[in-house]
Amino acid sequence: MAEVRFQSVRKTFGKVTAVDDVDLDVADGEFVVLLGPSGCGKTTLLRCLAGLETVDSGRIHIGNRDATDLPPRRRRISMVFQSYAVFPHLRVRDNIAFGLKMQKEPSRVIKERVESVAALLGITDLLDRYPSQISGGQRQRVAVARAIAVRSDVLLMDEPLSNLDALLRLQMRAELKALLLELGATTIYVTHDQTEALSMGDRIAVMQGGRIVQLDTPLEVYDHPTEKFVGDFVGTPPMNFLAARVEQNGGGQVAQLSGGTLPLQGVGDLVGRDLFLGIRAEAIAVEAEPSDHAIRAAVVVNEPLGSHNLITVRAGTDLLKVSAGNHFFPEPGSDVWLRLVPDKIRWIDRDSGKAVAVTRDQAVAPA
């Protein structure tokens, strides 16, 4: 296993810049997820690491070697493709053994390794079948088995779960994570599914327009998005963003929202700026009765999700999604009162879309 370093990597296709001067350090044994919408450059970055695309500028280091000019086969990587790319003309056994055969390992070693890897992925009884004779989910396991059988320095995965149906995907997610944890493999994993990214990665690199927008642990990315884009993209449901203006109010401040006002403390440097107030659904308490500093909103639709209810409400001109208990069923059109948890509020500058750093202690002014 080895660490990976991207240095100012740039890749263009004609006039389109797919990867725009990206720097990224991945530690030995770390699981980093490249997350972003389609077209953000995550797959291109992965392919540059694999050597399937040549970079236009920048360097890529794998371990202590500069791999930038090396062809894929010399980089000591292995890869799981989105379509699995399991060789149709070879049995499962020979698929898994392929990389080892290329490395000219003795057949005894190959046999042993194939069988142990197959056991790890639960496909031992499929070894003598052909890919056309097994299901998509099983083929996916073969692809993973083939990749880990070679004991490469870095494991690359390009949306390996996206072609599985929802239930299988959930199951494989956990299995894969446990497996990779046990192997201690340096893994770079590409996905557009933010749930996958949050649940699997040690760190997430959120990408947009060819750049890494935020590189952090899942919790940090979830809790402290550096940009409005990250708040929108990560989390189910996305973070709520309310247009706000902060004004000085005596010793403290007050946020002017479309649906009401919110007293604040200690946010003096936000005064006079056009901002977004960001807050997640679960950080808003929903009540049927008014209370101090609560914001009034009208219920638009209630989506019961079993464990809780996701209610879409309108406060002024803002539409928010809030979480309520699974026994709370307000009538559409009726009023509810929202109390925002103060230290869960995130401020985004409306012009730049970037997060505004504030001191941590914001509190609702006591009555």
Binding site: T54, G58, R59, D69
Partner: protein, 297 residues
């Protein structure tokens, strides 16, 4: 962090090597076609206008004044005029049948396209065995009681009759190719268009005329082009059935090359054939041009 100045050169070199691969792969083809296709064609033109180092039109004059030239020209053009419509109707019928939902359509299709394996020589030999004086057609006519003595089908005096017989042989042989092309085109037409037309009251032939055929235009264009070019190459089937009493432009070219040992006149014939082919190709392309707005891509 080493800035990428020296490394950039390596990248550049490697890029050129990597991205140069397709050009190396097509090099043999480009070279081959250049040497053995483009160059010979230029030479053909040269042969037809250059004799013994002098530029001259004499090969063309010789060709024009040759007795057999008029006959060859007449036959070739007549042949094409007759065979094209006949073949296309036949091929379309076969393709439509094979594209319908009758049982055994796979077998029918295979039988329809079987003559793809027949060279024009083999077809000529097969059909000459039918048309020859003591051949199969006369046998059948006699067995059916329609005739008491053999009819002379292969009669140098009846050139038109000979032409039709040669047309029959060629129709038998080369319709298969057109059927395949039209089949491929038909399979590209989604069924929904015909079904929609049917729902709106169009009967079979109306649907054929207003929906199927217009969408088949690209395939018809290709088939027509191919067929016309191939028709100008007609050679062995004529020899097999009519001997040297009938002649085509290609046959004359062959005669001048191999019997009279005059490559210049042969090249003149070849140039004429090419000119006809290209004119026909241009006409076909023009006639069957589909306006871009009409295509749903």
């Amino acid at each position: 962090m080493e800035a990428a100045v020296a490394p950039r050169a390596t990248i550049g070199r490697r890029l050129r090597r990597r991205e140069g691969l397709p050009y190396w792969l097509i090099l043999p083809t480009v070279a081959y076609m250049g040497i053995f296709f483009v160059w010979p064609m230029i030479q053909a033109f040269e042969l037809s206008v250059r004799v013994g180092g002098h530029w001259t039109f004499s090969p063309f004059r010789t060709m024009y004044h040759d007795i057999r030239f008029g006959q060859a020209l007449h036959f070739t053009l007549l042949f094409i005029a007759i065979i094209i419509p006949v073949q296309f109707v036949l091929a379309l019928t076969m393709a439509l049948i094979a594209n319908s939902d009758i049982r055994f359509r796979g077998i029918f299709l295979f039988l329809f396209i079987l003559p793809l394996g027949a060279s024009d020589l083999a077809a000529g030999l097969a059909w000459s065995s039918i048309f020859t004086q003591h051949g199969y057609l006369n046998t059948i006519l006699q067995d059916l009681g329609l005739r008491h003595t053999p009819y002379i089908f292969i009669n140098p005096q009846h050139q038109t009759q000979l032409t039709l017989e040669i047309v029959a042989a060629e129709v038998w042989r080369s319709t298969a190719l057109i059927t395949v092309i039209l089949m491929a085109g038909l399979q590209g037409i989604p069924k929904e268009y015909g079904e929609a037309a049917e729902v709106f009251g169009a009967g079979y032939f109306r649907r054929l005329w207003t929906v199927t055929l217009p969408m088949l235009k690209p395939a018809i264009q290709v088939a027509l082009l191919l067929r016309i070019v191939l028709a100008f190459e007609v050679f062995a089937v004529v020899l097999a059935i009519g001997g040297q009493t009938t002649t085509t432009l290609a046959l004359e070219a062959w005669n001048w090359q191999t019997s009279y040992l005059n490559p210049h006149v042969a090249a003149a014939y070849a140039a004429l054939i090419l000119a006809f082919s290209l004119v026909a190709a241009a006409v076909v392309i023009r006639l069957f041009r589909t306006r871009p707005e009409q295509l749903l891509r």
